[in-house]
């Protein structure tokens, strides 16, 4: 683990550099370069651990609480998630370096322009955030886990606050802080229950004495609430579409693509490892939460007009899919069919790495759009495929991958999940059989809606005519940013074509959690063909699919150009009489109009969405306007009532501050009597 410690220490040292040398012109290069190198080291270590020795390594550091120290341990699961963090760290550093330089240049350019306010510091907290996430994955006792978790939350909160001059950021950051504190409180209680009365905080000790049924049930609930609020499970997701987009784009990529995965890690660690034998209903509850999250997440995404907010909502959907797969794995583990459990867990982990890749990529694309045009509003974009050709190609790969299109990686994850769902009839519980069929429908619905969502994002931002002068003036971004986008895009293709390699890479992680591998009932270990279950004929081969698509397309192009006409004439498209008189491209479909059919089919019931047409009287020269109004059920039915209740309570408790000393003494005496009475009742 020496290599790992060197990399972690380097991340902390880079933070110091970021503070100490903040006036120096090369500090950005040093910090981002150093962070990329350190993350590269972490990634190398993780791959070596997974391939070489099943990932297990442990160490105790004599820091932290006396007599306890800090226990660190990496097994297959930690190593796998470390790899996800490292990948995100490398690409985000590369992209961030170019992004910050581009923004510094824009700032120098607009020195007199007050709209580009100076942003707060990102550099010192960026490596710290990555170190915090790595430490969560390595922690092997409850105390260091919670400290690292809080460290991760706080550093990401500070990174969100770096854009504090933007009008929406303070509210987003405050909400994030409240939700983070709430989540940690739940985790704190969960670990309290796990540790029990023995008081031994080490995970090894917890594993030896898992809690009893009642305490275990409560722990499951608390962990799902605690980790779920970080991951974005509905209805605890409310902070996510506000806070993730508020940060600089490379940090948004890390928060959405990687930090949510650390929360998934917490779920895996507690539910599969620390709690011992699972009960079937834990998985059922997870699947129900995941199904609601997946469908709601993508519907939220379809309602958004802000590129980064849309991406953050789509993260909610993907977390839902991952949680569904985790729930399935738990159910199959509980019913003692470990190979199917391994299949479902592999689907979950594959989707973890897939989502971290394409969501980082898409957030980088959003960053590139922001750099080039200065706006994140879809209704002010358009036609970027002509002005940012390379970004457009990379964005297309990301959009296709997240829409689960073959032969890219997103499809493989969903395919594996469907294969696991198809095994549900073998389960003994009736409620699960019915429930899993419904969950399967929810996954399919979410996937289809996600495709609509990303056709909308790509079609509005990159295709068509520019909807604003800024979009018309945009230019391609620099090489560092392009490289930061190209790496995850290439990996999206590679993982889609050769998924078996990565599934076998993280097999130690799966084996550690469910004591079986996904290919255990196969007579051979596949590497090109993905054929996970012993059921006949269920196989998928992305490589042949890609080769066939390429070969057939080329043959088709050659044949058409050889035997058919290859003449082309350019002409003006029919614009319904708006030609020339429509410089803002208003006759074009906008982001809201594209979502209208889906808003009408789904939004009416879920969001209470209403379109109102404001049609002026004849003779009135005002333009007709269409306004869309929708309410978020999570706010309307949960958070607003809770906020009102808290305020009401605060107002009434406030009176207690202004009592006389006599009243306070009476209250204390009454409290003492009540406590004594309770003790008496409990004792008898």
């Amino acid at each position: 683990m020496t290599l790992l410690f060197v990399a972690l220490l380097a991340l902390f040292a880079l933070a110091v550099v970021g503070v100490a040398a903040r006036r120096s012109p090369w500090v950005g290069t040093a910090v981002y370069g150093g962070t990329a190198a350190a993350c590269g080291l972490i990634g190398l270590w993780a791959v070596e651990a997974l391939v070489g020795r099943g990932g297990v390594a442990a160490a105790v550091l004599p820091i932290g609480l006396p007599w306890i120290g800090v226990h660190l341990r990496a097994d297959g699961v930690s190593a796998f998630f470390l790899l996800v963090v490292a990948l995100g760290g490398v690409t985000a550093s590369l992209f961030g370096w170019g992004y910050e330089r581009a923004h510094a240049r824009a700032l120098a350019h607009h020195a007199a322009d007050h709209t580009h306010g100076e942003s707060g510091p990102v550099l010192p907290f960026f490596p710290l955030f990555l170190a915090g996430m790595s430490l969560v994955l390595l922690a092997n006792d409850a105390f260091s886990f919670l400290v690292s978790w809080e460290f991760m939350s706080l550093t990401s909160w500070l990174l969100v606050l770096s854009t504090h001059r933007e009008p929406d950021t303070p509210d987003a950051a405050r909400l994030y802080l409240v939700m983070a504190v709430l989540g940690t409180a739940c985790l704190l209680l969960a670990f309290g229950l796990l540790v029990g009365t023995g008081g031994d905080y080490r995970f090894d000790a917890i594993r030896q004495h898992p809690p009893e049924a009642g305490a275990a049930a409560l722990t499951v609930l608390l962990v799902v609430l605690g980790a779920g609020s970080k991951a974005g499970l509905v209805p605890l997701h409310v902070w996510l579409p506000l806070a993730h987009p508020a940060a600089p784009s490379h940090v948004s990529a890390l928060m959405s693509g990687v930090m949510t995965k650390v929360a998934v890690y917490a779920l895996v660690r507690v539910l599969f490892d620390l709690l011992g034998e699972p009960m079937w209903w834990w998985g059922g509850a997870l699947m129900a939460a995941g199904a609601v999250t997946a469908v709601m997440g993508v519907l939220y995404a379809l309602m958004q007009d802000d590129v980064k907010r849309l991406l953050a909502c789509s993260t909610i959907e993907n977390i839902g899919v991952i949680v569904i797969a985790l729930g399935l794995a738990l159910v199959f583990k509980a019913s003692h069919t470990p190979v199917i459990a391994a299949l479902a867990l592999s689907a979950a982990l594959l989707h973890v790495v897939n989502h971290s890749l394409f969501k980082s990529l898409l957030f980088f694309v959003a960053g590139a759009i922001l750099t080039a045009t200065g706006t994140r509003d879809l209704n002010r974009l358009g036609g970027l495929i002509h002005r940012m050709p390379t970004t457009a190609v990379l964005a297309l790969i990301g959009a296709a991958a997240i829409s689960a299109l073959p032969p890219l990686n997103g499809f493989v994850g969903e395919w594996l999940l469907f294969q696991a769902i198809l095994n549900a009839p073998a389960l003994p519980e009736w409620s699960l059989k019915i429930g899993i069929a419904v969950v399967g429908a929810a996954v399919a619905l979410a996937a289809a809606l996600a495709a609509a969502c990303f056709v909308r994002l790509y079609g509005i931002a990159f295709l068509g005519r520019p909807r604003s002068a800024e979009a018309g003036r945009a230019g391609e971004v620099g090489r560092a940013m392009l490289a930061g986008m190209a790496i995850p895009a290439a990996l999206c293709v590679a993982l889609g074509v050769l998924p078996t390699l990565v599934i076998r890479l993280f097999e130690p992680a799966v084996r550690a959690m469910v004591q079986a591998g996904p290919f255990d009932d196969r007579s051979y270990q596949p590497w090109i063909w993905l054929a996970p279950t012993s059921a006949i004929g269920n196989s998928y081969n992305g490589l042949i699919l890609l080769a066939m698509i390429a070969a057939l397309s080329v043959a088709l192009v050659l044949a058409i150009h050889r035997w058919a006409s290859d003449r082309v004439r350019r002409s003006i498209a029919w614009g319904c009489g708006h030609d020339g008189a429509d410089p803002a491209a208003l006759s074009q479909y906008s982001a809201s109009s594209f979502a209208q059919p889906i808003r009408r089919a789904f939004g009416g019931t879920v969001f209470n969405a209403r379109d109102r047409v404001d049609m002026p009287e004849p003779g009135d020269t005002r333009p007709a306007r269409l306004t869309v109004r929708w309410t978020d059920p999570a706010w309307a039915f949960l958070f607003t009532p809770v906020r009102r209740a808290v305020n009401w309570l605060a107002d009434h408790v406030d009176a207690l501050q202004f009592l006389t000393i006599r009243s306070y003494l009476t209250l204390m005496f009454a409290a003492l009597v009540v406590v004594l009475a309770l003790v008496a009742v409990v004792r008898s």
């Binding site: 495929i385 419904v438 399967g440 079609g459 295709l463 006949i536 998928y540 006409s565 479909y589 059919p597």
Partner: protein, 314 residues
Amino acid sequence: MIAAVIHQVLHMVLVLALAPLLTGWIRLVKSRLVGRRGASVLQPYRDLARLLRKEVVLADNASWLFRSVPYVMFTAIWLAAGLVPVFTTDLALAPTGDLIALIALLGTARFFLALAGMDTGTSFGGIGSSREMMIAALAEPAMLMVVFSVAVLVRTTSLAEIAVYMMGGTVGLRVSLALALIALVMVAIAENARIPIDNPATHLELTMVHEAMVLEYSGRHLALIEGAAMLKLLLYAAVIACVFAPWGMATPTQGSLWIGLLSFLAKLATAGAALALFETSIAKMRVFRVGEFLGGALLLSLLGAIFLYVSRGV
């Protein structure tokens, strides 16, 4: 193995050759049903040849995406059609992708076509793309649920294996299969832009879905898109035939290719005539009723899947 490769090549050529014939057949039957003489069944071939000879007129701001989408879309649908056994189950590509991959390949074609509809920046393309994606958002899950029902019964999602199993005759009549068949037919009607969801012959902008999306295409690009639409229609007919009426198809061990071929032609003729009869006897529905139609398909297929999930004990 070599036989499988030869079958695969024959199969790919066959579906390509037959697709316009099926469309021509449906048009002919429809004309006869409404009392017209109708064009020859070979008319779609002539139309495609004419389009291929014409020059392409591109909108000023059309990008490379607009020009490459017809090829990508045609390839994806052709490849998907290559995965559905029609006259023999002994196909080289069969293990490359199962029914789920097939649905996803069709999804790829739709994704790119919807993008192309938005590329020129006109309102019609946007109307078509947004409606197409709304229809797909309901049709795709319904189709996946049908796959689930069948897969639970047969224990596989591979089309070749499903066909072999269904021919074995051990399935019998089942309520779930009937529900799945109804749902699949509803999805096929929606996905192929047929009446009552969409009208393949309409040119009234406000009611168009598919036609609006491809409005800016011309020449060889339009030929490819029309050809792909014909292939897709054939593909859905072939999927329904393969899952619910695979009789006559050859397998690696038994059956003759000629019987397989003739029975497939007979099935296509029946499916085409049934579609024409259905289309002439029903009116097109409003676009926003489509949600109810496809929601019904989704619920039917889900119900079928649940019946099976529950009835199949340990």
